[in-house]
Subunit: 404 residues, 2 copies
């Protein structure tokens, strides 16, 4: 029943896609790992003498980095020295038979090596070339080194994160890298769509700074129309209330009353239906203005209860709410860890079995590919170069000369 | 020279893709706006009596919401009442000729209306159906209402954002919605890739909670292997230093020394090369441990200078750094606003010309589609229903009966 009439479960939607992955550390490897998890054949290419530095990122168990394993699972691995003439030649042979190349070198590095998009296009006009960098490949800052923390600062996101009385605040996860990675996949897959229609590939690119900046699209509308710039609001929200973080007896939880109706439900649930008729609280505008008085009622009710009790009452009443979870709670949660399978296990021979964080994408037809261990450096040299017609003897010679 | 041998500039990579957009408010409209900006024909479908509530979101100028315009630019608009039998029939006719449907109703709503994926598949087995929701379409929390703030809390991101001595901190932008939207596009485009290969569509889905949780993939590796959970670190970084936010005389800037070499460059640039030989500062580990002593030297140097001066010196030395920008500075920046064109203008007849935040994706071959005003409600009824063969008279009757 499979084949042309049904999709294959647990295969992933990208079966048949071949990607050459030249990326290092986080943004690129993370993006390419998503491709591999969706069933693409992702070939990670590393310099034999200078492999991805994240192979040494802790935690390292029996010589293998669990960080590297998490970010490079489901890929194949070959070694290749792009600085060697024979290495370039090998790379072009690989490009001939690939659909996409993804890299996160500093702009100009690939061109300087003689394997920039213009060269690759000559051997395969259909190749889609995705570049991830801090600031993008053109413009006055293009050559500047970019890190997550740089993207967080320059994107404007830090300036609006945190409390009014405190400093700009970094998002506690390296979302410059991960959002940049995810955004690059939209570009890469859109270019593949175009290639399917036209037969032609193209170069696509993403800057970490741009990718974080774009997330604030809604925040800047008032500024562009009325001159009103967003400011740090802590855990409140400028236009809605109650909408933000509240304290219960044993911790924090969030309420998300995006509509008046949710507020009425909340008022009833906490035994204060009189708030519904209180003129101060009739609209979002009024509730934002009289936030303190409203929050006092909510807090008085919640402080004598646990987060769990509070969320259970509000859930029952249909009020959007959630505990502020840590990974310890996430890992135990019946929905997130259970039903949504957000923490599947990976089995690494050297490390043993441990959990990784799953992709957030769900495909009802094809599912995702089963999780496979990350490859040792060059583990697929024989297989992949063999497919290009290289004999074992030739590979030995290439290895001796430092080409692979 | 166009056609089969060259890509068309300023067209976008998704020319030829037809998407039915049933989304409201933020996550879905934002995602569908990306598709439209990439050249897809995105048809926004709204209930004539209950259109997208964001049409009323401020700032509203001459009756038109700039928020709506920003999030729904480049789309076409039709009205359609999916609760009416004739409305369902019309929708299925549209589905026959479409490539994808995107919606962000609460799970179950489309099925209850009789236009869930299983029904759509019957008239078009190739249709890709993308669902965005707070918690996903299955699992114990599936029917709970989800908002950005709920996703931020439950995803674990808030727990690791902020200062050790302060509370969990909300990211100041609604990234639950926007990251959820961007992630949904990866799913949708991957399913289109699969459709190109197999002829078959499928249902894909994303939960806002999952999409934020997935960003923390690198943060949880140590927990899963060593039991070490991430904690709030403020503007520092657990494993690298100097890497984070520093104060200059007139504001904040970030330093991102991800390698020892960058630190050496920094030490030289600020006239303290003695730090390079200081045993306390030889490695990331040492610098993290002796952060206070190291930061004192950096701060003493920076506090007598402006952010601009500090960044200019560090830039010159090749040290990753960035000012903590607000939108006022972003808008003036020669790289971001200039070269990267992150704030193009939109011309809305009712509002006038104003800026919007651009997509972060750059396509060297096809570019993006030129920015077009968001459509008035039902502006393309005659055009789109006309294409299905409905006469003006029939449309008048459908309108009178509240179907369109």
């Amino acid at each position: 029943m499979t084949g042309s009439h049904e999709l294959q479960p647990n295969s992933g939607p990208l079966v048949g896609l071949k990607v050459l992955d030249l990326t290092r550390v986080l943004s690129g490897p993370y993006a390419a790992m998503w491709l591999a998890s969706m069933g693409a054949d992702v070939i990670k290419i590393e310099n034999p003498k200078d492999p991805d530095v994240s192979r040494a990122y802790y935690p390292v168990v029996n010589g293998k980095s669990a960080y590297y394993s998490t970010m490079n699972r489901n890929k194949r691995s070959i070694t290749l020295n792009l600085k060697a003439e024979e290495g370039k030649k090998l790379f072009l042979e690989l490009v001939k038979d690939a659909d996409a190349v993804i890299e996160n070198f500093r702009p100009g590095v690939m061109d300087k090596l003689g394997v920039g998009y213009e060269e690759l296009k000559k051997v395969n006009p259909g190749i889609v070339y995705a570049s991830i960098s801090g600031y993008g490949t053109y413009g006055p800052y293009a050559k500047k080194p970019g890190y997550d923390v740089v993207a967080q600062a320059m994107s404007g996101l830090m300036a609006i994160t945190g409390f009014p009385e405190g400093p700009p605040t970094r998002v506690g996860s390296s979302i410059g890298d991960t959002v940049g990675g995810v955004s690059s996949l939209v570009a890469l897959l859109a270019a593949l769509y175009c290639k399917n229609r036209t037969g032609l590939g193209q170069k696509v690119e993403i800057a970490l700074v741009d990718s974080l900046l774009a997330l604030s699209t809604p925040d800047y509308v008032r500024y562009f129309v009325e001159g009103l710039a967003p400011v740090r609001m802590g855990n409140c929200y400028r236009s809605w209330a109650p909408y933000g973080t509240y304290q219960a007896g044993d911790g924090y939880y969030n309420i998300g009353c995006g509509t008046d109706e949710f507020f009425y439900k909340l008022a009833r649930a906490i035994g204060h239906s009189e708030m519904i008729d209180d003129e101060r609280f009739l609209t979002h505008e009024g509730r934002v203005e009289n936030r303190e008085a409203m929050d006092a009622v909510i807090n008085e009710w919640a402080m004598s209860r646990s987060v769990k009790e509070v969320c259970s009452v509000l859930d029952e009443a249909g009020v959007p709410c959630a505990p502020v979870y840590t990974i310890r709670e996430l890992e135990q949660d019946e929905h997130i860890a259970g039903a949504r399978d957000m923490f599947p296990t990976i089995n690494e021979p050297e490390i043993g079995t441990f959990r990784v964080t799953n992709l957030p994408l769900r495909f009802a037809g094809t599912g995702l590919a089963p999780i496979k261990a990350a490859p040792d450096l060059g583990a697929h040299n024989a297989e992949i170069y063999g497919d290009l017609g290289y004999s074992e003897e030739e590979l030995v010679r290439l290895r001796e000369r430092g080409v692979i």
